[in-house]
Structure formats: C-alpha cells, structure tokens
C-alpha cells in the first residue's frame, strides 16, 4: 500500500470517526508490517506519540505566554462533551494544579500514559505488555480473557483485548477515576469505559483511536485520535519519588491565571 493510499485511508476514517461506528472505518496493515506466527500484525517495538502541545491540553487551544503552547489537540471534533457540573470541575482542576495527581507521582492513567512518554510494546498471543518509561511502570492487556475483573479498581484499570481484523481492540474498565487526561484539568470518573483501537498501518506507524464513555461526566461518548511513531531507542528508568522537589514550590493556595482560552 502506498503512503498516499494510507493517507487517504486515515483521512477517510478521520472524517467518519464522529458519525460512524469504527467497523465502517477498518484500517489495515500494509505489507511492511511484520506478522506473528498466528498471522496477526506484530506491534512489538518502542513507540512514542508525538502529540506536541496536546500534552498540556488535549482540546484545541491557543498559546498563552508562559502557560501553554498552541495545539490542535487530539480530541476528535475538538470538544469534550462535558455535563455542566463536569465542565465546572475542569476549571476547578485547572485552578488547583497542586491537586494534580501527576505532581504527586501518581499513575497518569489510561489513555494519558500513552502520550506522556515512550513505551516498549511486547506482544505475545496471550498477553500484550506496555512497558512505559514514564513512571517506570507497565500495563498488561489480557488477550485470553473476555470478562473484566469483578469489584476491582485501579489507576489504569483492567485491560482485555481482541483482534478485529488488523486492529488490536482493548476494552478498559475498573478505572478508579482519579487520573487526569492532561495538565488542563480534563478528566473522567470511576464510571468510565474506554475502548482503544491500535492499528499498525505501516512499519513506522500505529494509528490510535479511543472511545471514552462516562455517564457520570459526559453527555455522550467521545473520541480521541493520534498516532505513534516507531523509535530506534531504548527505555530508561524514570521513576518519580526520589527527586520530587516541585510541589514544595507551588505557591500555597495559588491558582493558575484565569485566562485559559479555547478555540
């Protein structure tokens, strides 16, 4: 498949993302993608998602000197459909950066962990493991289990996966709802369910799409989309606690400036 036809494929899917189920938007792996003995695309390797300024705010935003660079964001359609109370909560989160679990060395959560640093993906038929550099932590996707854990809760939940053609589909539940999606206060609750779709469209690229549903927080499910690029590098140790000295410098009770313009 030529690079042009992949672009057409991705563009067509991007256009369809808001209106059609993903089954109508089936991405495929081209011939450059290695396959496992079972014939599945092999996603193994080191990957990084170059999302730029969206790491600060996943919604589209303009630049503010000293606060944030501009970015088109990674939210499909541009706006997260918050319920009114939740939209207010985003503003409260933004105004209290010291409450951000990230600053306290907590787990970034799903899908936040995917775009906050590189990961080494190790694929076997029964489990697929993400070895995240950030926080020196991991996520395991169980391919041989169909039901989520009962009465369980975790920062990054429970991930079970299956193949839909060339796409790895991961269903994430059992989230504790404490993690945030970025530094701008975007969030979900413990009622969130996330369905992720990973398609290695060519040797160097994994296209990623997540549908996030949370009846406590959003008015409807919404989608996030970005891509990973293959890295020729290695994973380094990046735990958090040893040298954490930032929180002590956060001005007590101080908030970020009020202006947080969105496009």
């Amino acid at each position: 498949m030529s690079r042009f036809s992949i672009l057409i494929q991705v563009a067509a899917c991007a256009a369809a993302l808001n209106t059609l189920p993903s089954a109508f938007c089936q991405l495929k792996s081209d011939s450059s993608v290695p396959r496992t003995r079972e014939g599945k695309p092999d996603l193994s390797g080191m990957w990084n998602a170059p999302i730029g300024g969206a790491i600060y705010d996943i919604e589209p935003h303009v630049a503010v000197f000293g606060i944030q660079p501009s970015d088109k964001g990674i939210v499909v359609g541009g706006k997260i459909p918050y319920q009114p109370w939740a939209q207010e909560q985003v503003a409260k989160n933004l105004a209290h950066p010291a409450d951000d679990p990230e600053v306290h060395c907590m787990m970034p959560g799903v899908p936040h962990h995917l775009y906050i640093g590189p990961l080494l993906l190790v694929q076997t038929p029964k489990v697929i493991t993400f070895l995240h550099e950030y926080r020196h932590s991991y996520r395991v996707i169980y391919m041989d289990r169909r039901e989520h854990l009962e009465d369980y809760s975790a920062w990054e939940g429970d991930s079970i996966g299956h193949w839909d053609g060339d796409t790895l589909v991961v269903d994430v539940a059992n989230l504790n709802g404490k993690a945030r999606l970025d530094m701008a206060g975007n969030f979900y609750s413990d009622a969130a369910r996330i369905v992720e779709r990973y398609t290695r469209t060519n040797l160097n690229t994994i296209q990623y799409e997540a549908t996030i549903e949370d009846p406590k927080v959003y008015t409807r499910p919404w989608k996030m989309a970005f891509h990973f690029e293959l890295q020729h590098d290695m994973i380094y140790e990046e735990e958090c606690l040893e040298g954490e000295r930032d929180l002590q410098h956060y001005p007590a009770g101080a908030a970020l400036p009020d202006q947080h313009p969105r496009q």
Partner: protein
C-alpha cells in the same frame, strides 16, 4: 553514546516536562541567568537538579536549577559526569513563582564553551531560549 545532534532529532517529540506544568511553578516573566560554581549535580528522577553556588550582593547563595529527567538528558547527550563539583557554569532559565532560589533551567554553558540544553523546557514554557543551539556539542 548518542551524539547530541542525533539525540535532538529523536527527542524533539518526547515530552520534556510531563511531571508538572511549567506555569504552576515557574514565572515566564522572571528570566534568570546565573554564573556560579557547581556544588552538586543530582542525576535523579523525575527531574535532575544542578545545585550551584552563586556570588550575590549579600554573600553566596545556593540555587537549585531544575532540568529534565535523566532519560531526557541522556538523549540530549548528558551523562552523570557531565557536570562536576567545582565546575563553573552559566545557567539560563526562569525563576520560581515562590521567589525561592529555584529555577527552571533551559541552557547550561560551561567554562570550556560547551552549551547544553537542560531539557526542562516543557509544555507552557516560553519558546526561544530553549531552542537547540546551532552546533550542540556533548562532552
């Protein structure tokens, strides 16, 4: 070891300051440039710190200069031995909002002319000074 130029290509897309936002702690309107002597180079996560003694009007002040994580620094050509106690350095960056002797380091220049990105320019940090120098050089 990766050359700094090669690392720059690799790392241009890696988040440098994911642990916390720049604006929550540092003031973009408080640019700081310090000439000092390295007391300690603390190669630790989630951010490394360069501790330097600076001669100020009232005597010697100890400043803590925050850099990127060791992973970020390594990809930009740094090693734990890059800075040693006693080294003279010039560190440019932005001061903390709380007025303490703490800064977000952007560029470190050594007495022998090396200029190294400190890797701490993260989301929200002002552009400009943290941009890669024309001819980066690793020790």
């Amino acid at each position: 070891m990766l050359s700094v130029a090669a690392a720059g290509c690799l790392l241009a897309v890696f988040p440098a300051l994911a642990h916390h936002s720049f604006a929550a702690e540092y003031d973009a309107n408080r640019p700081v440039t310090l000439n000092g002597v390295v007391k300690k180079f603390d190669w630790v996560n989630p951010h490394s710190w360069i501790i330097i003694d600076v001669q100020e009007a009232n005597g010697i002040a100890t400043w803590e200069c925050e850099t990127g994580a060791p992973s970020i620094l390594r990809r930009r050509g740094w090693k734990p031995s890059t800075l040693k106690p006693g080294d003279e350095v010039t560190v440019s960056g932005y001061g903390a909002k709380d007025g303490s002797h703490t800064m977000n380091a952007r560029v470190v220049k050594t007495a022998d002319g090396r200029q190294i990105l400190a890797g701490s320019a993260g989301p929200g940090a002002p552009p400009g000074e943290g941009a890669p120098p024309d001819k980066p050089e690793a020790k």
